[in-house]
C-alpha cells in the first residue's frame, strides 16, 4: 500500500481505538492518561475524539478553545504541548459556544468523522488513539470504514466492575469480533475506592467484573485503575495527573496498562 492511499495517516505507525459499550466508564479518562503516559515515554501521540455529542478530551488536556487551521495537507491538529508531542482533533474545537449542542443524526456524524480521519494532517505519529462515544453505532462504523485503508492495531475496552457495565461491554466485544478489530485488552476502571481518611477500601461500583469479563471472553486483562478523586480533580483542571502524582497507585496501574499495550503493539 503506498503512502498516497493511506493519505493523512501515512506516517501514523499504530492506531488504537478506546471503546466501551457503556457510557461514563472512563474512556476519555483512559485515553487521556494513556496518551500522557506515552508522551512521557518519548512517543509522538495523537488523539482523535469522535464523540461528537459529548467531546471530553479538550477540557481534560486543557487546550481551551483554539482555532483550527487548514494547511496544504488538511486540517492542522491542535497541540497540547509546545513540543508538539500530543496532537488532538475534536469537534470541541469547532464549536464557537461550548454549550452548543451538536444535534445531528447519523449521516452527518458519519460525514464529519470521515473528515476527521482523512483530512487532518496528523504528520508523524507513533500512536493515534481514537476516543469514542458509548455504543455500537454510526460513529464506530464511520471510524472503522474510514480507517479501512490504514491498519487498526486493535482496541482497548474500558469497563467498570459492575454487571450493568460489563453487560454492555460484552456487546462491544461482539462488535469488535464482527468488524475484525483485535481486542488488545480490557481495563477495569473505578475499581475500588480507598478512603483518604481511614484507608478503608470500598467497592463503590462492585468488584472484579472486568477481570471476569476478560476470562469469559478470552481477552487480555490489562489491569484495574482505582477510583481516585485526585485523578478526577486533575482531569477537571486539565492538568497532567502522571506528572502531579507519580507516587500514587493509580500512576502504577496506568503505567502497567501502557506497558502491556505497547508490548502488544510491538509484537
Amino acid at each position: 500500500m503506498d503512502s498516497s492511499e493511506k493519505g493523512s495517516l501515512a506516517q501514523v505507525k499504530h492506531v488504537v481505538l478506546v471503546l466501551s459499550g457503556k457510557g461514563g466508564v472512563g474512556k476519555s479518562t483512559i485515553t487521556t492518561e494513556l496518551a500522557l503516559a506515552l508522551v512521557h515515554a518519548g512517543k509522538k501521540v495523537g488523539i482523535l475524539d469522535v464523540d461528537l455529542c459529548g467531546p471530553s478530551i479538550p477540557r481534560m488536556l486543557s487546550v481551551g478553545k483554539p482555532e483550527v487551521h487548514q494547511c496544504d495537507a488538511g486540517w492542522v491538529p491542535v497541540y497540547a504541548d509546545p513540543q508538539q508531542k500530543l496532537a488532538i482533533m475534536s469537534i470541541g474545537f469547532l464549536l464557537e459556544d461550548s454549550d452548543e449542542a451538536v444535534i445531528w443524526r447519523g449521516p452527518k456524524k458519519t460525514a464529519l468523522i470521515g473528515q476527521f480521519v482523512s483530512d487532518v494532517a496528523w504528520g508523524e505519529l507513533d500512536i493515534l488513539l481514537v476516543d469514542t462515544p458509548p455504543g455500537t453505532s454510526d460513529e464506530h462504523l464511520a471510524v472503522l470504514e474510514n480507517l479501512r485503508k490504514h491498519r487498526v492495531d486493535g482496541a482497548v475496552l474500558v469497563t467498570t466492575p459492575q454487571a450493568v457495565s460489563t453487560g454492555d461491554v460484552r456487546r462491544e466485544i461482539t462488535f469488535c469480533k464482527k468488524t475484525a478489530v483485535k481486542i488488545l485488552g480490557i481495563v477495569e476502571n473505578m475499581s475500588g475506592f480507598v478512603c483518604p481518611h481511614c484507608s478503608e477500601c470500598s467497592n463503590v461500583f462492585s468488584k472484579g467484573g472486568g477481570e471476569e469479563l476478560a476470562k469469559l471472553t478470552g481477552s487480555v486483562f490489562l489491569g484495574s485503575v482505582p477510583l481516585d478523586p485526585l485523578l478526577t480533580a486533575t482531569l477537571e483542571e486539565g492538568r497532567d495527573f502522571l506528572q502531579a502524582f507519580p507516587e500514587s497507585s493509580t500512576y502504577t496501574a496506568i503505567s502497567q496498562i501502557v506497558n502491556t499495550v505497547l508490548s502488544s503493539l510491538d509484537a
Partner: protein
C-alpha cells in the same frame, strides 16, 4: 419518508429541510424529484398513529443526560418502582437505549422475551402495574450487539411507541442513551403529537459531566421540552467505616447547584454514592425496597415526590385532566 433515506447521497440535507431536493448534494439522488415536489416533507403518519395510541397515557417523562454513566437508567428504573408502589397507578418504562439497554438487568428481567398479540407487542410486566419494554428483550444472547445506524434505530423507536400495547398508563417513563442524536430526535419527533410532560436531567457533580449536560439542556430548549429539573447523582461518598465524606466526583465548577442557578432550573435533589445502589442494579432489585432508610433512598423518594407534584400540576396538550 425517513429524514435521510438509505439511498440518499452523503451530504443529504434531510427530507424535511428547505433544501430538500434542491441542494447540490441532491444531484443524482433517486429521491430528488420527490423531495423537490415537497411530498417528502409531509409529516410521518406514525406521529398521528402514536398520538392516538398514547391517548391512554396520562404523563410522559423523559430521563436525559448529555453524559453517559451518570445514572439515567438507575434513576428511570427506580422512579418507575417508586411510582408503581402506589397500586392504583399504572406505570410503563420504555428503554430507548438501543445499543446499551441496561433496563432489563436493572429491573431483574434479563432473559424475558416479548410476545406479540392482535393488539400489538406485549410489554414485560415486573409487577402487575409496572410494564417494561426494551430492545434487550428482543436479543437472544447477552453477547448480541446491535450494530445499527441511525435510521434503523429510529425505526425501532417508532415501533416501540406505535406497536406496544401499553394499555391505560398513568406514567410513561422513557430512559434514553447519552447524547443528542438520533434516539433523542426520534423520541421528540414521534411524541410531537402525543406530547411530553417534561424531562428530568441527570448529572454528576463534575464539570466533565456538566459540560455535556448543558448541551442536553440546550437540546431541550431547541425542541421545546420543558425541563422538570436536574438531579445531581453520585454527589459525595460517605465512607462506611469512618463516616467521612469524600467528593469522588468533585464539583469543581459548583456542581449542579451552580448550573441550575445559572440556567434558572430547579435542582430536584442530590443523591449520594452508595455501593448498595450498584449492587441492587446488578441483582435486578429495587434499592428503594432493599435499603429504604439509606440517605440515597430518602433522596430518591423526595425527588420522586417533586416529579409527582410537577405532573399533577402540568398537563400535556392532549391530556384531558
Amino acid at each position: 419518508m425517513a429524514d435521510v433515506p438509505n439511498d440518499a447521497p452523503e451530504h443529504c440535507p434531510g427530507t424535511s429541510s428547505d433544501q430538500a431536493g434542491k441542494s447540490s448534494a441532491c444531484q443524482g439522488c433517486p429521491n430528488q424529484n420527490i423531495c423537490a415536489s415537497g411530498a417528502a416533507k409531509a409529516p410521518d403518519p406514525a406521529i398521528e398513529e402514536i398520538r392516538q395510541k398514547l391517548t391512554s397515557v396520562k404523563h410522559k417523562i423523559l430521563v436525559l443526560s448529555g453524559k453517559g454513566g451518570v445514572g439515567k437508567s438507575t434513576f428511570s428504573a427506580h422512579l418507575s418502582h417508586a411510582l408503581a408502589s402506589d397500586d392504583s397507578k399504572e406505570i410503563a418504562l420504555l428503554d430507548v437505549d438501543i445499543c446499551g439497554p441496561s433496563i432489563p438487568k436493572i429491573m431483574g428481567l434479563e432473559g424475558e422475551q416479548v410476545h406479540q398479540s392482535g393488539s400489538g407487542w406485549s410489554p414485560v410486566y415486573v409487577e402487575d402495574n409496572l410494564a417494561v419494554m426494551s430492545i434487550g428483550f428482543l436479543l437472544s444472547s447477552p453477547d448480541d450487539a446491535v450494530i445499527w445506524r441511525g435510521p434503523k434505530k429510529n425505526g425501532m423507536i417508532k415501533q416501540f411507541l406505535r406497536d406496544v400495547d401499553w394499555g391505560e398508563v398513568d406514567y410513561l417513563i422513557v430512559d434514553t442513551p447519552p447524547g443528542t442524536s438520533d434516539e433523542h430526535l426520534s423520541i421528540v419527533q414521534y411524541l410531537s403529537g402525543a406530547g411530553i410532560d417534561g424531562a428530568v436531567i441527570i448529572t454528576t457533580p463534575q464539570e466533565v459531566s456538566l459540560q455535556d449536560v448543558r448541551k442536553e439542556i440546550r437540546f431541550c430548549k431547541k425542541v421545546k421540552i420543558p425541563v422538570i429539573g436536574v438531579i445531581e447523582n453520585m454527589s459525595g461518598f460517605v465512607c462506611p467505616k469512618c463516616k467521612n465524606t469524600s467528593q469522588i466526583f468533585p464539583p469543581t465548577t459548583g456542581g449542579a447547584q451552580r448550573m441550575c442557578e445559572e440556567l434558572n432550573l430547579p435542582l430536584l435533589g442530590r443523591v449520594p454514592l452508595d455501593p448498595r445502589i450498584g449492587r441492587s442494579c446488578d441483582e435486578g432489585r429495587s434499592f428503594l425496597t432493599e435499603v429504604p432508610d439509606s440517605p440515597a433512598a430518602v433522596a430518591y423518594q423526595n425527588i420522586v415526590q417533586k416529579i409527582r407534584d410537577y405532573s399533577s400540576s402540568h398537563s400535556t396538550p392532549d391530556d384531558p385532566c
